[in-house]
């Protein structure tokens, strides 16, 4: 069993209004050293390999459904996991 951790964030070129709002609040709390905040999504997929390459599968899934590459970037990590 593989555990895939996928991190989706808005592309650098896209304004992240949620991140900007949180950054503003951190500044108000005195954390002026925070120069940028980007807010994204975290997804966990448990995948039972069936012979197909896990990287290929994850990239396909990200491209087709999990992200919109017009506005989002993604990265992921694959870990060994024990079946529940």
């Amino acid at each position: 069993m593989k555990k895939v951790k996928i991190y989706v964030t808005l592309r650098e070129s896209v304004l992240d209004p949620q991140g900007a709002a949180v950054q503003g609040s951190l500044h108000k709390l005195g954390y002026g050293e925070v120069v940028d905040v980007r807010i994204g999504k975290y997804m966990e997929l448990m995948i039972k390999p069936d012979g197909r390459n896990v990287d290929t599968l994850v990239q396909e899934m990200c491209r087709k459904l999990l992200t919109n590459t017009v506005i989002e970037d993604y990265r992921y990590e694959v870990e060994e996991a024990v079946a529940q």
Binding site: V14, L15, P17, N68, V70, I71
Partner: protein, 227 residues
């Protein structure tokens, strides 16, 4: 003219669209469930606003894979008018039938009020009954209506006159105030404002009715000239 109103799990403006077409426009209309395998009997396709599949992943992202979307693509390829309003617009961008994407409103607020739009292109099958440059009042109701596209796409939209409506104020952060665009061919329109909510004085105005009348007039001219 016979319209299909596509109903996705979570659509909530389908009744308004049905009412606009049937009662205010006086044309034929049917609800079509999202798993329908056939739209061939319809002359025009309407994708309503709402929260298809709860917007759990992204607005419109899951609807894009509904069986009926293959049929919507066929209708678009056949040159039939396809109109996506609000969530319908988001679905059309996710499906690749329109360029760009819709982001969270710049001020992070859900916005529900009537806004003024400029008709930037009155030479489409959706806007023939408007004047070029006319100001119209149409309600908006969205949290993710901030239209985004890259510079290259924006240049293409301008070069092809695909920008159909713009906001007269910066209400959501959309690039160049874009409120509605068509595809390059001009038969697929996506817009965040709700013309179906502006079809009767009782609900605050009638500026949206001309959009539906434009579609019907254009269709009649193309199909009923020899009747």
């Amino acid at each position: 003219m016979k319209f299909a109103v596509i109903v996705f799990p979570g659509s909530n403006c389908d009744l308004d669209l049905y009412h606009a077409v049937k009662d205010e426009l006086g044309e034929e209309v049917e609800y079509v469930w999202h798993d329908s395998p056939d739209l061939s009997g319809f002359d025009g396709v309407l994708l309503p606003g709402g929260f298809s599949y709860g917007d759990y992943l992204r607005c419109g992202a899951i609807s894009r894979f509904s069986a009926v979307m293959e049929e919507v693509k066929k209708a678009a390829d056949a040159g039939k008018p396809v109109l996506g309003i609000c969530n319908g617009f988001q679905i059309l961008t996710e499906a690749g039938l329109l360029p760009g994407a819709l982001l969270r409103n710049k001020n992070l607020k859900f916005m529900c009020r009537t806004v003024e739009l400029t008709v930037e292109n009155a030479d489409t099958m959706f806007t023939g009954e408007y004047e070029q440059g006319e100001t119209v009042r149409i309600p908006v109701a969205h949290g993710e209506g901030n239209y985004y596209c890259d510079d290259e796409t924006l240049a293409q939209l301008k070069a092809n006159n695909q920008i159909v409506f713009t906001y007269n104020e910066d209400c959501n952060g959309s690039r160049e105030g874009i409120a509605g665009i068509t595809n390059a061919r001009g038969n697929v329109l996506g817009m965040m404002p709700h013309p179906e909510r502006a079809v009767h004085e009782l609900i605050g105005g009638t500026d949206g009715l001309a959009l539906f009348k434009s579609i019907v007039k254009q269709w009649r001219e193309a199909h009923v000239t020899h009747a």
